[in-house]
């Protein structure tokens, strides 16, 4: 038995989630672990298991009718669902920190214009400066990380080209064309070489 939702999607119930977990092959479970290991960088999650635990908790909550992440089992393979849910949780985690900061700044501007003091304690000038400093520091750190990665591939022209494309905001087909790669397979081969080297040098995902 399964939940039906919007459109023709059929959503998983508790038994479906349990069965899907038991059916995970070693390679699938390992792939989920590897993706989680990369995703948790610069998030509130300390270990891959923390993020995976959150995913399965949300999925099971939704499966028993509580608020959570529903698995549209008729349309999305379980592994893909887990990966997309991990990405969503990580984005939520990052956006939540950003929204909190932005809201505080916005409230401070309203107060400064004399249109009334918003409820709560708006950040002081010092706090706003600290926030800006923190963002500048994060930007500086990101720049250093990008430089470190570029240094790794000084002698690899193809990865160097790919990095230049990424810096210009290109993805997918645009990179293939701009770098002169033969096809998608060529692109994926270069990307795999880049990923393996970065993971080897920075085992926790990337320098940050």
């Amino acid at each position: 038995m399964a939940n039906s939702g919007a459109g023709t999607d059929v959503f998983a119930v508790a038994g479906d989630i349990q069965a899907a977990i038991e059916a995970l092959s070693d390679a699938e479970a390992y792939r989920l672990h590897r993706v989680a290991r990369l995703l948790i960088r610069a998030t509130e999650y300390d270990q891959p298991q923390d993020l995976l635990n959150e995913v399965f908790t949300r999925a099971m909550q939704a499966a028993i009718g509580e608020p959570g992440r529903r698995w549209p089992k008729s349309r999305v393979p379980f592994v893909a669902f887990v990966i997309e849910t991990m990405k969503g949780l990580v984005n939520d985690s990052r956006e939540s920190a950003w929204v909190t900061r932005s809201t505080s700044l916005e409230q401070a501007y309203v107060a400064a214009e004399g249109d009334g003091v918003p409820p709560g304690s708006p950040p002081s000038v010092e706090e706003k400066l600290l926030d800006l400093e923190a963002r500048d520091a994060a930007e500086l750190k990101a720049g250093q990380a990008v430089s470190k990665i570029e240094e790794l591939f000084e002698n690899d022209e193809e990865v160097g080209l790919m990095l230049e494309c990424l810096k210009d905001g290109m993805i997918g087909a645009a990179v293939i064309s701009a770098c002169g790669f033969r096809d998608q397979t060529h692109y994926e081969t270069v990307r795999r070489r880049m990923r393996r080297r970065i993971e080897k040098v920075f085992p926790k995902g990337r320098p940050a």
Binding site: A14, I17, Q18, I21, E22, L24, S25, D26, A27, E28, A29, Y30, R31, L32, H33, R34, V35, L38, L39, R41, P48, Q49, L52, N53, E54, V55, F56, T57, A59, M60, Q61, I64, E66, I83, K87, A138, E139, L140, A142, G143, A145, V146, I149, L163, L166, K167, D168, G169, I171, E188, R191, R192, M194, R195, R196, I198, E199, K200, G205, R206
Partner: protein, 136 residues
């Protein structure tokens, strides 16, 4: 030289690394794990165990909530009760089937009609009697 924010560039690069793991074949990932000396079996077992435990924990909490919730929240009384003689028969049968529920039953012979109706309602709320479809 790009004027994009460094954090945006790093995020794009990070997304490419993740996309690469997603698109790699099972054989490719397993070979890579072997080369780096990682115990795939151990990692996979730990991952499945984590998933199993997270899912089970949700069910345990839900079960404990359901047990703590008063039965009256889940059972509603029928709008129309059966005729009195039928009602008495239903109650008597229910008490015969489930003697534990007789705590609410005093002496059937001395019960007023209202007592019978109240007792019927109590047994419905206790889940001892299930009202038939034409009663609600």
């Amino acid at each position: 030289m790009s004027d994009k924010k460094q954090s945006t560039i790093l995020a794009s690069l990070h997304a490419e690394l993740i996309a690469d793991i997603e698109s790699d074949s099972d054989e490719g990932l397993l070979r890579e794990a072997k080369e780096s000396g990682e115990d795939v079996q151990k990692v996979a077992d730990a991952m499945r165990s984590c998933a199993r435990e997270a899912a089970a924990a949700v069910l345990r909490v839900a079960l404990s909530k359901a047990k703590a919730a008063p039965e009256t929240r889940r059972i509603t009384l029928p709008r129309i009760r059966p005729a009195l003689e039928q009602l008495k028969s239903i109650v008597t049968d229910a008490l015969r089937r489930q003697p534990d529920a007789a705590l609410a039953f005093r002496d059937g012979k001395s019960l007023s009609d209202t007592d019978w109706q109240t007792l019927y309602d109590d047994l419905v709320l206790l889940g001892v009697i299930t009202p038939s479809a034409d009663e609600d």
